[in-house]
Every structure is written in C-alpha cells, then in structure tokens.
Symmetry: C2
Subunit: 781 residues, 2 copies
C-alpha cells in the first residue's frame, strides 16, 4: 500500500524543472561565453541613438556627395561658367568635409566613448603582464616544450598570492560561518556527471577548418566578425548595424543550426587560412579518461567542485545534527577542455574553484547574520537597469533585498560577504559590480543569480557567481529527471515515499508545461537527498490511499501481477481519482502498464482507492541551495591589474613598477637589507630574519651590493609592503612601499612591528605616529 | 668550429645514467609495490633459523609418527603382546604430542612473534576506521553511487586536519628555507612525461581473468599466494619455505616472463572465480586524456608534481639570482590509475603530494643549517643493518653523516627536518624510522635514498621519500638520453656547447658500461637546464678544437657537405684523436656519417684537429637534486592511527574514542558549551565564539541540551583539544582533552588562553599552573 502525498509545501515548486537543452547548458557554471555579455557591447541608449543617426547621416551625406559630384561633372560637360563650376566644387568640398567629420564622429561612437581608452588599456595590460611574467607571478606551463594553450603555472610570488587568497577565503567564509569544508577527488565517474547533466549538456559549439582540421569556437568567430564589421566598416547601413548588434545580443541563445546559417550568410571562413568551415557541432568540454585497468569505466576530470558536495549531502546533513541551514565548501582544481583558450589567465583549461553550497529550507531563506551586511552600499546592476540601458549604480544592500531586487536575505547576505571579501583583498570597489542575470541567462529552476564582475583591461569579468539554484542539484542526484508519461515515470522513480513525492512535483511541473525536456535516464543514485522539519504538533492531512488487492490481481495477471501492482501504486492523485471514478461508474477500466508495454483491464475488486485523514509529524522536503562560486584565478588576475601602477624613478629617467598589494595578500611581507655589505649589518639582518620566520612572516634577505634604491625598486615590483634596512646594530628603518615613508625602530622590535601591521592589528598610520621618522636624505630611488 | 669541452668537473659523472627498464621503473616515485618490503617479511635471523629448524623438526617428527604408526600396525598384524602394543602406542602418542607442540611453535613463528598482535592490530584498525568514517574524517567518494575503488573524500574534520598539515608543511619547509613554491597544472602533455620516462616505464604488471576479464596485479597475486602458503600450510618443507621467501624478497625484480612462469608453476588462478589467468603484461598507471578539441594532443594527469618544477628550472634559477643552492616546492594533486587499490587511504588513485626539489652543486652538498639537526637522534635503518638481518636502531644524525652512512650533509639535513616535521604533527617517534634503500631498490643515478616509514596497523608504510637523485631529472628534460652510436648521438644532440658537453658525459658513461639502454627519442626540450659557477680567477684548460675545412669538404661532398661537417664537429675527444692519428699516418680515413647512412673518405686537408689552451671563466654543470617527497594522505592516515585511543567512560560501561591530535593539527581547536540551556549562558558562549573567530581559532558551539559528559565525548572523538564550558557570566572553565583537567578563566580571557596554547606560545602545563583549578565534581563523563 502506498500513499500519494499531497504537496504540503508550496515552495517546493518554486524551483522549476524546465530542463531544456539550452537552459541547462547556459546554466551550468562554466565561464560565460563572452566575458562582456554581448548585450553590454551596445552603447547606452543615447549613444546607440547617436550612432544610428550618424550612420544615417553618413549615408545621406554620401548620397549628397555623389549627387553633387554628378552635378559638378554635368556642369563641366555643359561647359558652365567657371564661377558656377567653382561654386559647385566649393559646395562639394564642403559636403566632403562634413562627411569626413561625420565619419570621425561615427568612428568614435563605434569604438566606444574611449577609442583612446582601449589603446591605453592595452598598453596598461602589456606593462602589467610583462612585469607579471618577468617576475614569475605566472609562467606559461611547460614553456621549454613550447607550452600548452590555456595552462599556466604560478611561479613563487603568484603561488604565494594564491595561497594567501585561499587562506583568507577560508578565514572569511569557512571559519566565519562554520562551514563544513570537504575535499573530493578530481577524477569523477561518468554516472555522477551524467546525473548532473554535464555529460549531455556541457558543450560549446565548434567548427572545423575543412582542409586543415583546426578547430574554432563557432560563437567566437561570429562575434569577432560582427564586432570587426561594426567597428571598422563605417559604410554599413544603420539597418545592417542593428542586425549585427542583434546577433551579438542573442549569440548565447543561437542553436547550432542558427549559428551555422549565420556563418554561411556572412561568408565567415577560417581566420588563419580563409578555408571554408564545417557546420557547428557540440564539443563536450570535459577532459575524459578511464578509471581502472578494464577500460570499461569512463570518467572525467570534474568541471566544477560542487558535485562532490551534492553527492555527500546526506552525510553532511547528518554531521550537522540533521539541522538546516548549513553550508558546505570546497576548494579545488576544476578542468575545462576549452576549444581555443584566449585572454591569458582568464580562460584556462585548469583552474582553482572555491565553492560554497549553502543548504536552506525553501520556506525560510532568512539569515541570522544578515543585519551585519544590510548597510553595505556598492555598485549593483539589476536586471531592470540592464534592460533599460542604464548603468550600474550604488545601492544599499538592505534596500535591494527589501524591494525584492535580490530574491532573499541569504542570497543578499552572501552578496555582501563577497563584496567584503573582494575589497579586502584589494579589488577596487569602483571597478566591482554585482550584475543580476537576465531572464535568458538563468535556468528556470534558479530563483535568482548575481555575478560579481570586476573590470579589468579585458572588460567586465565574471569572477564570482552567487546563485539561488533552488532544489535542482539535490534532485538531479536523487531521482530521474522526468519521463515520457506518468506511468512510465512512476516506473522509473525508485523507492517509495520520496520518489512518489518527487514524481508529484514533476507531474505538476509537467501539467503546468514547465517540463519540455524529457530524460529517460536511469543513472541516478536513487538515494533521497532531503531534509525534514519536525512539527512541534502533529498536523492532520488528507491522503490518497491506493491499495491494490493482490489476490485478485494475482488471479487475473499471474506472473505480471507485480508489474500491475507497481503501476497502480505509482499513480498520481489525479490519475487515481480518475480511475476511482471510472471504476465506480463502469466497473472496469483499461490501464497502461509501461513495464508490460500494454493495457490491462482493471476491475473494481482489484484495487481500493480512498481518501484518508493522517497525522503528519514532520515535513520532508528537498533543501534549496544558494551557491557562491569563486573563480580564484580570475580574481587573482584582476587583483594583479588593480594593484599595478607605475611611478617615475627619483632621477625621472624611467618608470618603476609597483604592486600595491595589501599585506594580507602580498607574496612576501617584508625584505631585509643591510644598507652596505658589512658583516655586522648582515648579522643583524639574520637576527631579524630569524624573528620574522618565528613570527610566520614570509620575507627575503637581499645582501647583494646593489644600490638601496634598486633593491627597493625590485621589491616594489613584487608588491612587498615593508622593507627593513639595517644601517646600525641598534636601530633599523622600516619603509612602507606606497608612501615610501620610513620610521626608526629598535632591532628587537622590527619583526613585531611588521607582524602587527601585516596581521592587521594596527595600520601603518599607527606606526608612523608612534615611531621617530627617518628623515635623512633617503637612499630610496 | 666547435670545441669538445673536457670534463672539468669529475662529479658530473657521479650521477650514473644506467637507464634500464627495470631500474627506471623501480625508481620512479610511485608507491612501492609492497608497503612492507618483502625482505622485511623475513624474521630476524634467530627467528628465521628457528622457523627453518622447526620445519625440519616437524618433517622429522611427521616421518617418525608415520614410521611408528607402521610399527604399531605391524605389531598388531604380528599379534604381538598387549603390553608390547600398548607401549608402542604410548610412544606413538607421545610422538604425536611432540609433533603437535612443534606445529604450535611453527604456527607462532610464521605468523610473526605476535600472532595475537596481528589480531589486535586488526581490531584496533577497525575501531579507528569506524570512528573515522562515522565522524566523516573521510568518506568513500561518490558513495551514493556505490563509490569508486581508490577514491576518497575528506569530510569536514579530515579536510581541516589536511589543511592544518599543509599549512604547517609550508611553515616548516617553504618559509623556513625560503623555498620557491610553484603551482603547476595536473593536465600534462605527453612530451613532458615521455621525457621523464613515465610514458614508457610507469607501469605495473597485470593479469586478467581469462573468462571474466577482471584485472589483477600480478605481483599481488604471487605475493598473496606465498604469504598464505607460508603462514597457513605447515606441511611445506623448509626448502619450499625458503623458496617462497626468496620469491617474496625478489618480487619487485621479477620480469613479466618470470612472474608469469611463477604464476603458472604455482597454479595460481583468479581469486574470485578460480578461472585461469592471462600472462602478465604492463599496464601504464597514468590517467590518459586528450588536450584540446582535435584529439591529436595526448595528455596525462600528472603522476607526481616534481616534473612541473624541473621544466621550470631555468626560470627559477634566474629568479634566485642565478645562485645555488635553492629549493623549489610544490603541493598538489597527483594521479595513479592503480590496477586494484587496497589498504584504504594508503593506496589511492588520487592523492596530495608535497614535493621539494633542492638544487645543489654536485661538488658541494654541504648545508648552512646542518648544525641545527646534527644532534637529533632517532631510529635509522641503514642498508647494512637490513642486509644482516638486524633491526632499526637509534643513531645520532651527525654520526650517520660523518660515517658516510648518509651520503651528504644536505640529504642529512632534510632527513632531520622530516623527522622534526612528522613528530611535531603527532607521529609517534618510536613508530617512525628512516630506512635506506637497498642497492636493488635504487636507480644507478641516485646517490642515496632514505624513506621515512611509519608503522601502523598495515605494517611499516613509506610516507616520505628523501632521495639524492643526482642530475638525472634535469638531464632528462634537456637532452636526448643516449643513442645507437656516437656519431648518431652527435646528430641527435641539438645546439652547440652544451649538447657536446652532455654528449661527452654520455659517451664516458657508455664506455664505462653504465648505459645499457639506448633511447633514440627526439622528444626532449633541447633547452639546457644547467647552472654556472663563475671563477674568481680564470682557469686554463686544454681543449680539443675540430675545424672542418669547408671549402675542401664542399668540393668533395657538394650537397652533403653540411652533414659531413656536423658529423665531424660532433666527434668526441677519443674519436677525434683517433682520426687525427689516422690522418697523420695514413692521410685518409673512412668516416661514418649517420645522417647520410654511409661511410665517406676524409682526407688530411679536410679537417684540422688540434689541442689548444683556453681560459675558462666559469664552470657549467647540471645541478644535483635532493628530493624530499611527502605522501600527505599516508602521513594523515598514520597520524589518525597514532592519535587514536580509547578510554573507559566514567561509568565504565563503554569505551570512548579519543584522538590525541596536538592543537597544531586538531580539526577544531575548541568547543564552547553552555553548561545548561539558558539564554544568559548562550549569550556568553556567543561572545566567546566571536572572539575565537577574530583570533582565527576554528571552533564549534554546542547548545544541544545533551549532558555535558556526552558533549565532551563527542568532541574528544573529533580530537578537539579544548572545551570551554560556560556556567557563569563571569568565569568559564577550560578543559584539556587528554588529562581532562579544568581551569577557571575570565570570560574575556578565554579565547586568548586557547589561542596562546594552540599557537604554541605556551603549554597547557603553563595554563594549569597559572589559573585556578576547577575542582567541583566535574560533569565530565
């Protein structure tokens, strides 16, 4: 006997299960196809309007020039007077000048308001990247073997920055929220990624050079073509420009067929060879491998760390005393076999993710510490502002949540915490915005989704995604997604209680038309990943009871009895009530049993269907998950750019590079220099070095005879915040990197002063106030 | 014109290049096939002798029993007197008793001196593992999908222990030695692992069940068979026992053929089905994948992190100011597709390695901090002691180095540092030994190699390998290994200066018979990975100069001139001097040019060969590398076992589990309990919790109403060293886990007291002395 359990929680349907190929693929947390969403390549409305009118004006002026040219020629042919002809030529020249002026305006308009800005961004990036590579912040991997696209090593200073960022992440999130951190393998069996949808949907569309076989991302080629055309070809009509912009804006939504058609229509060829291109086809971005020696167990390198948490939900919930909410976290490598990686550290084939899965009752998404972030104010870019062509604006987080712009408190809380995390690392708050996903970017099951985007020389880069993913992921691992028909679904759902419960949800979704993708996949765990809320008082609910009469069914169907019983028990409420009515009126009904593949006649004495009142002691539900997911490498790259600046040397003959890393993330906290090569000073330097090591402060001694100015320049370039210069055996100077100010401190105190500032116990300003200043003509620079 | 550079450094030949399949395979730093080297399965000499004599005695007694049995039967048949028969039977029974006593002794001898010990070890492991799995220290990965052999997750407490161990590793090694830490990808292109030898040699021998296709490690089956036979079958002769022991001792050296022959000889079948087995064949242990979309770039998941460091040597050397010695380090995932993983966390398919590559001048392997470890005394197990059947003994590190037992100071320094690292983590120093590799375990190029082995319920486990690998790895990536003939080699060697230099080394090695494996592989980087020592005074050296006369060669060989010139220039010193002599005596000589595939006649006027004196300003050499390599998961598992104990509850009715983790590695440093459910106490608990978070102390509040004794038991089981119990708003008690002692501390002080002890600034004994003791009948247990 089984119960069909009515949905006592309405919110369980707030997660929709519209699983369409497009949406699922768009949702999976892979890096967005374009770092700048194409939508934002458009100018703000006024600009866009002016660009359109300029194109029209240019076309008109062009016609006018042509007409006037003809007129001049006609005058000449007609041997008109010199005066007449001169006047006409003067008018023509003036028209040409006007046309040229419009061309210039258009050029400026299409390359953004900052045509020069783009150039200086490029130069800035070059300077930063040169320093980063020269000082081994990062290195193309396997360089002596000519490298591999999309794979980078962190060299010593980069590795130290990374480990500081991760240590702070642990402190700021895991420790602060008492999260349950786990550490799962990268090698993942196929069944897990089949259930999550990655095996079928984690793809990019690819085209091949038909002669050389070189592969390209189809959308990249189309995007490059449109941008190039829009920026370089001023002769295209306003209509054509609008069409190209529309293509850019809808790029992520194009099917393989539509993408292929556009590529054909525009005559796009292989960039390197100009050979024709194949039709676009999906390429799965996971690195595939085989587990064990048999060759029969396919596996993949995980494309994200989240799945390792979801499959452990049951144990983690138990570990947390069967209480919600709680968060689990994981830091680890993830892998995406990009078709053609570009943009340096921003799109790579292997990267470190730090992910949080905060599990919460869908009926209560409040957060106990919400009040701690409610007054934060920072750049937000809600959906409405994006649609109406406005730009991001400063909003108080509390207002965004209370107005419903941000879906719920917990989501708001994490947005606030991410803001604090990034700005404390040294990300410039004026080049950080939280952008809400547009409707077409978000899967239907997601309740809301915001990206922390950081502006760097490549544009606005998605570095953290903060999504309320509803119950999708836990569902994905516990049951089959949906089915061809209800009775077939009921067969596919395993187990009793939950499967039926979930089946009801699916049925409802399907009735409402929310399910349009049908997956008949049996490769799910069958383990219910649910939580329960115990009621303080039992609640009375009405339940439908389906009781097959096995004796009668056995007589009628013999060996098939079990199949019929299962199919009957698996009916949903609507089906059961229809059957009850039909049996009462007609006494017999045809019933399709999918496991038999045919209809069987069910008589009134074979099943009893009734409604009964039941007391419930708890509510069982699938928790919602709120997922902040951090692309650590992207954050670090943006941090590099935000920290980098140049300043003239004292002699003014060169530009010196500086990284203004806060002590928290600086790869080395302190350098120790003997002012001149001298055994006594070296001994003092070693004593200070030993105290620094004991205090856990990473540092470096530089005893080369190089001038102190050069040594400062070297460490500025590594972003070392403090330098201790030994010029006596009693006192030393401590110099701060950005202000270049120096104080005098006793030898024994030096390490402690540096430690207190790098640990954030006091600021440099405190130190500056407390200690005597070093005023003698500094050797700096 | 090229110079053949004489070997001014003799030590460059101290790294031998005997690259045979067996040795290379044995050397690659994969986990040893048997965690207990088979050699050590043998009893110490006295025991082994007694076992042998017992087997002989048993065989004799068996013969005597049979003979006496026959005698008794003969007496009966001959109808001898009852008295006579009774006496014979009595003698027979007494013989049987003696036989049975010998059997018992033998049983004890073969199952080790501690037959009971094995049982209790098993029980101990079961208790520890049950606690570890129940409290989620670790979890079989993808458990809800029935898991994957050899893949484990660290759950929350395990993950915290791991991250504490890694943080301490960074502090103890990277920070203390100013190492250059790098972070390289796991995905590695084939060319790199081809050069390192892994593609060809990183294999285990596998057999297949001929009917089901199930795979087994061939050596495991043979080892299990031998051990089983030796331990369970008391009837085998002393000779047979010796043979089986010999097989165990030489297991690692057996070829595929020899292994297959033994399996056939002993009639070993598939363990599960008893089906016949295939012949053994090599299975590569790397997870293979494909990089990029073309399918044409094979790649592997790295089997160790070291290669990422070697390929970056040039940049790192530059970063270090072109100075030796320096060390690079890397922490990261490594992958080995084990054929049949067993022993839980000890043999897994994905694991964290922490590796150090300390680069040093082969002529100077001293270490500036050597004096800091010289007086350490701990269990060492040198080669000689192993060969002569003795056991490990306490040796002062300084003595081991000065006597030459440990090859050099730097190797000794790292052995000492590893000892300090492991014991500070909480590894029991009496169950830790440093075992030197036997000659047959070590590659010829290695100068010396020691394993830190930790004893746990599975036996002695290799957890850290500390090897002086000489110049092997840097060579492997910079030049081809060797060649079919000198002239062919010279063709394969790329570039000028260095290639010839290296070629000379190879030639010398080959002449000395050290090279018996010839690899004609061009897939090397061709980038010289060398260091240079600048001489304070230039040194005069004699050099051989080979100057082909291009004009004459051009006339004689036309289009083939270039090939002949290259071949002439590539001659080694011996070849050149032979040619010089031959040309002087005969005027012409036949010379094989491999790129032409034929001999050509060289006349006296075509090449000038002479010796010239040259001044050298520096010495160029390939650094030696000393490599401490840490299996983090194995260390953690052994730490779990060494930290685990049980103690009776106060009532004495159950055994409570405790992990005695030192604060350094404890997953949670502190718990906070309100003594009873009470708003005031909860508020105090929250205040203390906040101070702990600020201080960076991981902790947990438990406000369940459970008895305080139960709450203590729960946290003891997680190894939490301190518990703060709130029973007033002014003072609280702090309880230490192992002693169960409690002190009274003010609310504001509580977090600081815990922090000072967990940071190692003071001991619990200091705290116990300073603060008033909590004496009231503790609620503990």
């Amino acid at each position: 006997m089984r119960f069909l359990i009515p949905l006592i929680s309405s919110s369980i349907t707030s997660g929709h299960y519209r699983i369409t190929s497009r949406l699922l693929s768009a949702h999976l947390t892979k890096p967005r196809r374009s770092t700048l969403h194409p939508f934002f390549n458009c100018q703000p409305p006024s600009m866009a309007a002016s660009e359109e009118s300029l194109r029209k004006a240019l076309a008109e002026k062009q016609s006018a020039v042509e007409a006037h040219g003809n007129a001049v020629r006609a005058l000449k042919a007609a041997k008109a007077s010199k005066q007449e002809i001169d006047a006409a030529i003067e008018a023509l020249n003036s028209l040409k000048l006007e046309k040229s002026s419009i061309e210039k305006q258009l050029q400026a308009a299409v390359s953004g308001s900052d045509g020069d800005g783009a150039l200086s961004r490029e130069a800035f990036r070059q300077a930063a990247v040169n320093t980063l590579e020269r000082r081994l912040f990062y290195i193309p991997s396997f360089k002596i073997y000519r490298g591999v696209a999309g794979l980078y090593d962190y060299g010593p200073p980069g590795c130290a920055v990374k480990s500081n960022v991760l240590a702070f992440w642990r402190q700021h999130f895991v420790l602060e929220e008492n999260m349950l951190e786990v550490d799962c393998p990268c090698v993942t069996p196929e069944v897990v990624l089949k259930a999550s949808g990655h095996v079928d949907k984690f793809t990019d569309l690819m085209v091949k050079d038909e002669k050389t076989g070189t592969c390209y991302r189809a959308d990249h080629l189309l995007k490059d073509f449109c941008n190039e055309k829009l920026q370089k070809d001023l002769t295209i009509s306003a209509e054509k420009a609008a069409e190209l912009k529309h293509v850019l804006a809808t790029l992520d939504d194009l099917s393989a067929e539509a993408l292929g058609a556009k590529i054909k229509e525009y005559g796009i060829t292989a960039p390197d060879t100009k050979n024709p291109l194949s039709d676009p086809y999906p390429f799965n971005l996971m690195f595939q491998t085989s587990i064990g020696p048999s060759g029969l167990s396919p596996g993949y390198m995980r494309p994200e760390t989240a799945q390792g948490i979801f499959v452990n939900f049951k144990d983690l919930y138990y570990y947390n005393g069967n209480k919600l909410p709680f968060a689990a976290a994981q830091i680890g490598q993830a892998f995406r076999n990009e078709i053609s990686p570009r943009q340096g550290l921003l799109r790579v084939r292997e990267f470190t993710l730090a992910e949080i899965e905060h599990f919460v009752d869908p009926e209560d998404k409040s957060h106990p510490k919400y009040s701690e972030v409610v007054d934060l104010e920072f750049l937000m870019f809600p959906r409405e502002e994006q649609m109406s062509g406005q730009s991001a604006k400063k909003i108080r987080l509390g207002d965004a949540v209370s107005k419903g712009t941000v879906n719920n408190e917990t989501l708001g809380y994490f947005i606030g915490r991410v803001y604090l995390f990034l700005t404390r690392l040294g990300i410039d708050k004026d080049r950080l915005r939280f952008r809400q996903h547009l409707a077409n970017e978000m899967a239907h099951y997601a309740a809301d989704c915001w990206d922390a985007e950081i502006e760097c020389s490549y544009g606005w880069i998605e570095c953290v995604g903060i999504a309320d993913r509803s119950a999708y992921d836990l569902h994905a691992h516990s049951v089959i997604s949906c089915s061809m028909s209800s009775s077939y679904l009921s067969f596919l759902c395993r187990g009793g209680h939950l499967s039926n419960h979930v089946k009801n949800v699916f049925d409802e979704e399907q009735r409402e038309g929310n399910i349009d993708f049908i997956e008949t996949n049996l490769d799910k765990s069958g383990v219910p990943l649910v939580a329960a809320e115990k009621f303080s008082e039992p609640r009375e609910v009405e339940k439908l009871v389906i009781a097959p009469v096995k004796k009668e069914l056995g007589l009628a169907f013999k060996g098939s009895q079990k199949n019929v019983v299962e199919a009957l028990e698996a009916m949903n409420e609507k089906e059961a009530l229809e059957m009850k009515a039909a049996l009462e009126s007609k006494g017999e009904v045809e019933f399709y049993v999918c496991t038999l593949g045919k209809n069987v006649p069910i008589k009134k004495n074979m099943v009893s269907i009734s409604k009964e009142k039941k007391k419930e002691h708890q509510r069982v539900f699938t928790p919602s998950v709120i997922e902040p997911s951090f692309g650590i490498g992207r954050i670090i790259y943006c941090l590099f750019e935000h920290s980098f600046y140049t300043r003239p040397s004292k002699a003014g003959d060169e530009q010196l590079n500086v990284f203004r890393f806060p002590p928290l993330v600086a790869p080395i906290k302190c350098t120790v220099f003997p002012l001149v090569q001298n055994q006594q000073y070296e001994d003092v330097a070693k004593v200070i070095s030993k105290s620094l090591t004991t205090a856990g402060i990473s540092h470096k001694i530089d005893i080369t005879g190089t001038s102190i100015g050069k040594r400062y320049a070297r460490t500025d370039e590594l972003g070392v915040p403090f330098a201790i210069t030994v010029d006596s055996t009693k006192d030393v100077t401590i110099r701060e990197r950005d202000s270049k100010l120096q104080v005098r401190v006793g030898v024994e105190e030096a390490a402690l002063v540096v430690k207190s500032v790098t640990d954030g116990l006091r600021t440099w300003e405190d130190v500056w106030e407390k200690y005597p200043h070093h005023t003698s003509g500094s050797a700096d620079d």
